[in-house]
């Protein structure tokens, strides 16, 4: 395991919004291409440390950003 999780949201627009909201909350995140095995979407997803996964989900939920899925990210 890589120690990262990937947060999938509705669109690249929401991924950029999620990135901003999470960074404002002091979390370290990175936009990555949506892994093809998780979604056929051609846009971006948010990579977050596994240890921040629950807090990140909480921050997004409070900001009203709908999460499609959160998955562990393979190496």
């Amino acid at each position: 395991m890589s120690g990262f999780a990937v947060i999938l949201v509705h669109s690249t627009g929401h991924a950029v919004q999620a990135e901003r909201v999470l960074k404002r909350a002091g979390l370290t995140v990175k936009l990555i291409p949506t892994p093809r095995h998780l979604s056929s979407d051609c846009g971006s997803a948010v990579r977050i440390a596994t240890t921040d996964r629950d807090r990140g989900a909480d921050v997004l939920s409070k900001a009203g950003i709908a999460i499609d899925r959160i998955e562990a990210l393979d190496d």
Binding site: S11, T12, G13, V16, S44, G64
Partner: protein
Amino acid sequence: MIYLDNAATSWPKPDIVHETMSRYMREIGASPGRSGHRLANEAERIRLDAREAIAELVGLSDPMRVIFTLNATEALNLVMQGLLQPGAHAITTGMEHNSVMRPLRALEQRGVSISVAPCSRDGTLDPQTIDEAIRPQTRLIVVNHASNVCGTVLPIREIGAVARRHDIPFLVDAAQTAGCWPIDINDDNIDLLAFTGHKGLLGPTGTGGLAINDDFNIDMLRPLVFGGTGSRSEHEHQPDFLPDKYESGTPNIVGLAGLVAGLRYVLDRGLERIRVHEQKLTRRLIDGLYAISGVCVFGTRDPHRQTAAVSFMIDGQSASRIAHDLDERFEIMCRPGLHCAPQAHRTLGTLPNGTVRFAPGLFTTEAEIDKAVAAVAQLAEGTIE
């Protein structure tokens, strides 16, 4: 040269507006939402900046409920055409622009019925007239916040309260007020707020949009345009979530970059400061014009009840002739005629000849107002001779 056509579009724009647009064209250039590379993400950040700035301006908590369109007209069409089915009834006012009247008249031919609530000769409206026009089939109340002809501000908070009481969606056209008059989507009881980016918000033409309040159910609002959004690409059906449901096709990111810069300029300067400046200019303009013999000034003539759009006429002259003379002889730019608002001119009693409109803006000076007034005085004297 004196530019008094800010109600059509504001000019000049702050330098930061062109600089930001130029920077986008030179250094970013990409389309948002379509790819995941750094430039596409940077473009998406600009679009998010724009959504956040609009949300901040109107008191909306969720920036994804800000939809961008070509202009306020498209946003108004999106709501009216997306909401009103045959058999439905809509209420508007006697002070509307054709951006509201023409879509409504087109819908009328498809079986939608329309009521136009009458306004007074100065363009003001008693909210009670809206209440009286409500029927069981009423599905929309749509009003402009301020008249583009004479600046009269309508009591949107009170009209919104009527709409809330009857559970009817309330659409406000803020083309003339966003950026120079306070708007709070919640306090003013607004469900849907159409805005333009190129007037009071100091952005470029080709920018506008719709702010959708949190509790408005988008299931009842059909998109005006369908197409690619960059999301849910495997589906041939339009996404049902915001903002993608109403934003198809490559957006005007260079425009939005300029809009962010203009809007930040407005927010940094402060709406109240802008309003005080414009009220001072409006007072000076109205008083100056009103004192000229043979000149009639329309509307409330009260800067606390109107925006900086001042309509006037010189007895015995045509509006287009006055505007032409102002341009040719005094290098003053203004707009004559009916201002795409025959309904408002009917209310003001200025059909079919129309009026001349002076619309100062954020960068207009008192000295320019004085020169414009002096020019009108000279033209009015010409009539008397």
